[in-house]
């Protein structure tokens, strides 16, 4: 597999150097792997810290800036960052108002953020944590690691970020983040596996003419494999899986997310089908976002995320945001 890299060992550091050059409004600590808003800590404001394995760009580093995250900790490709990074990030953004960790529900992320929270509290930083677990493809039972955190992470980071920028206190920002997660559900579909730089070949074998339903964002295979389906059929299946799990009464935010290698042309076509299913099922749509936001390296495919919102959450969603990956209203 050809890749635009030097050597696999330096892909994350190389990307951080490039990010630092492109975004002087961010402080990129390449050695310690922390990306921070240059104006942090902002007086009186709750700090929002997230992080996770690299390979999901623009998540999380591309969502650092006014109106969204205060700092992000990139790990190795598909590998949770270490507690040292998270503690450093928390210290950099804490104004005394406390810090919220936004954690995708994967065993590694949860364990490292838990350790980091303890260490940060030892340093006198007040820390709250919100777990994102929106993926309906995983049965949430005693027999799995629980639902994965996927597309809803963007909704949580944007909406909690707006609440924090308004100066809302930590308990309130945490409650908003939790509410967004609880109201969100996602389902992903892969048309091809992805290739990690370390392995250099696809992480699993997906034959031509087949697709994988219920895919995660770490190159791990999904729950079921079928013969290739049309955009219309995939939308019926993915939105159907979500609506089996929640029955929205309020309008929803829609994220039609590309996994990295699917052209926008196809994503917009797929969004038309998603909107058709939602209309048929009587689900009103408040806002829609289409693009590559929570990716899985060079995987082709898509994920759909729906989030039920009320007027307050919609107001926070519409609030100005200025980050490398998401910006409006400024």
């Amino acid at each position: 597999m050809k890749m635009l890299i030097n050597v696999p060992e330096t892909v994350v550091a190389d990307a951080l150097r490039g990010m630092a050059a492109a975004h002087p409004e961010l402080t990129v600590d390449i050695e310690n792997r922390v990306i921070v808003r240059r104006d942090a800590p902002v007086a009186g404001k709750v700090g929002l810290v997230s992080g996770g394995g690299s390979g999901h760009e623009p998540l999380h580093g591309g969502f650092v800036g006014p109106g969204m995250l205060s700092a992000a900790c990139p790990g190795e490709v598909f590998t949770s960052p270490v507690p040292d990074q998270m503690v450093r990030a928390a210290a950099a953004v804490d104004s005394g108002a406390g810090v919220l960790f936004i954690v995708k529900n994967y065993t590694g992320d949860v364990l490292n953020f838990d350790m980091a929270a303890e260490l940060a509290e030892d340093e006198g930083i007040q820390v709250a944590k919100v777990l994102v677990n929106d993926d309906v493809a995983v049965t949430d039972s005693l027999y799995t690691a629980g639902r994965r955190g996927t597309g809803a992470t963007l909704f949580v980071e944007k909406i909690a970020g707006a609440a924090a920028d308004e100066g809302q206190p930590l308990e309130r920002v945490e409650a908003v983040a939790r509410q967004v997660n609880e109201n969100s559900r996602s389902f992903g579909v892969a048309l091809s596996a992805c290739t990690t730089p370390a392995k250099g070949s696809p992480t699993f074998d997906l034959p031509a003419g087949e697709l994988e339903l219920g895919i995660g964002i770490h190159g791990e295979p999904g729950r079921e494999r079928r013969s290739m389906m049309t955009s219309r059929e995939i939308a019926d299946f993915a939105v159907g899986a979500i609506l089996d799990d929640i029955s929205p009464r309020n309008p929803v935010l829609v994220l039609v997310n590309g996994l990295g290698a699917t052209p926008l042309l196809e994503l917009y076509g797929f969004n038309a089908e998603v909107q058709r299913v939602l209309a048929e099922r009587g689900v009103p749509v408040a806002r829609t976002l289409v693009g590559n936001y929570v990716t899985s390296l060079d995987m082709s495919g898509t994920s759909v995320t729906l989030c039920q919102i009320d007027e307050e959450l919609l107001r926070l969603w519409d609030a100005p945001v200025k980050t490398p990956g998401l910006r409006w209203g400024i």
Partner: protein
């Protein structure tokens, strides 16, 4: 009796076998994980070896505590906190003694394995590193070679299991038929004990 040098050499031997087997670990992690177990552990144990050369703690407990902390700070993912906790808690259980008996070590390692089960929430049969570590600790009274054999048998016995923890659990029944990469790397760690003993006996 086992001294600090024995434990330092245990870590060096494990680093060497992780280096040797890194590609196999990553290959095992591909069908049921995300294809990085070998490269992550290699990064961690390389850092452990470097730190132990620089700081050289003079007690068995000091060596393992430092090694565990280094894994937590360099590996990431789930294996960083889990392996880091295993070594750190084993080291803490050994206390400040300059030398420890094999029996004391067996007790300490059991405390370490218990801490891993508490942290990760896994029990035997969940298709994780625990499936190699628990049999190894149970067999440790009969010597390092018995522990190695038990760990390797435990790792192989994960193949028919359905994963209930970690990333492989997302696959449900499709995780059946693959040997668990975490149990496999845990058996390398236990095998390191034999390698050090054999090297010392030469």
């Amino acid at each position: 009796m086992l001294d600090a040098d024995f434990f330092r050499r245990w870590m060096t031997a494990t680093a060497a076998s992780v280096e040797r087997e890194a590609e196999r670990l990553t290959a095992l992690d591909s069908p049921i994980g995300d294809a990085d177990h070998g490269s992550n552990l290699r990064r961690g144990f390389t850092a452990v070896t470097a730190t132990l050369e620089k700081e050289a703690p003079d007690t068995p407990g000091g060596v393992l505590t430092l090694a565990g902390r280094q894994l937590i700070s360099t590996v990431g993912g789930a294996s960083g906190p889990l392996y880091g906790t295993l070594l750190r808690r084993t080291g803490k259980a050994l206390g400040d003694a300059a030398e420890v008996s094999e029996e004391q070590f067996a007790q300490a390692l059991r405390a370490g394995v218990d801490a891993v089960m508490t942290l990760g929430g896994a029990a035997p049969g969940d298709k994780t590193m625990i499936d190699a570590l628990v049999p190894a600790v149970d067999a440790l009274a009969d010597g390092f070679a018995a522990a190695r054999a038990a760990a390797e048998a435990g790792a192989e016995a994960t193949t028919p299991l359905q994963a209930r923890k970690g990333r492989a659990s997302y696959l449900g029944e499709r995780s059946i038929g693959h040997q668990d990469p975490g149990a496999t790397s845990a058996s390398l760690l236990i095998a390191g004990l034999v390698e050090v003993t054999e090297a010392a006996g030469e």
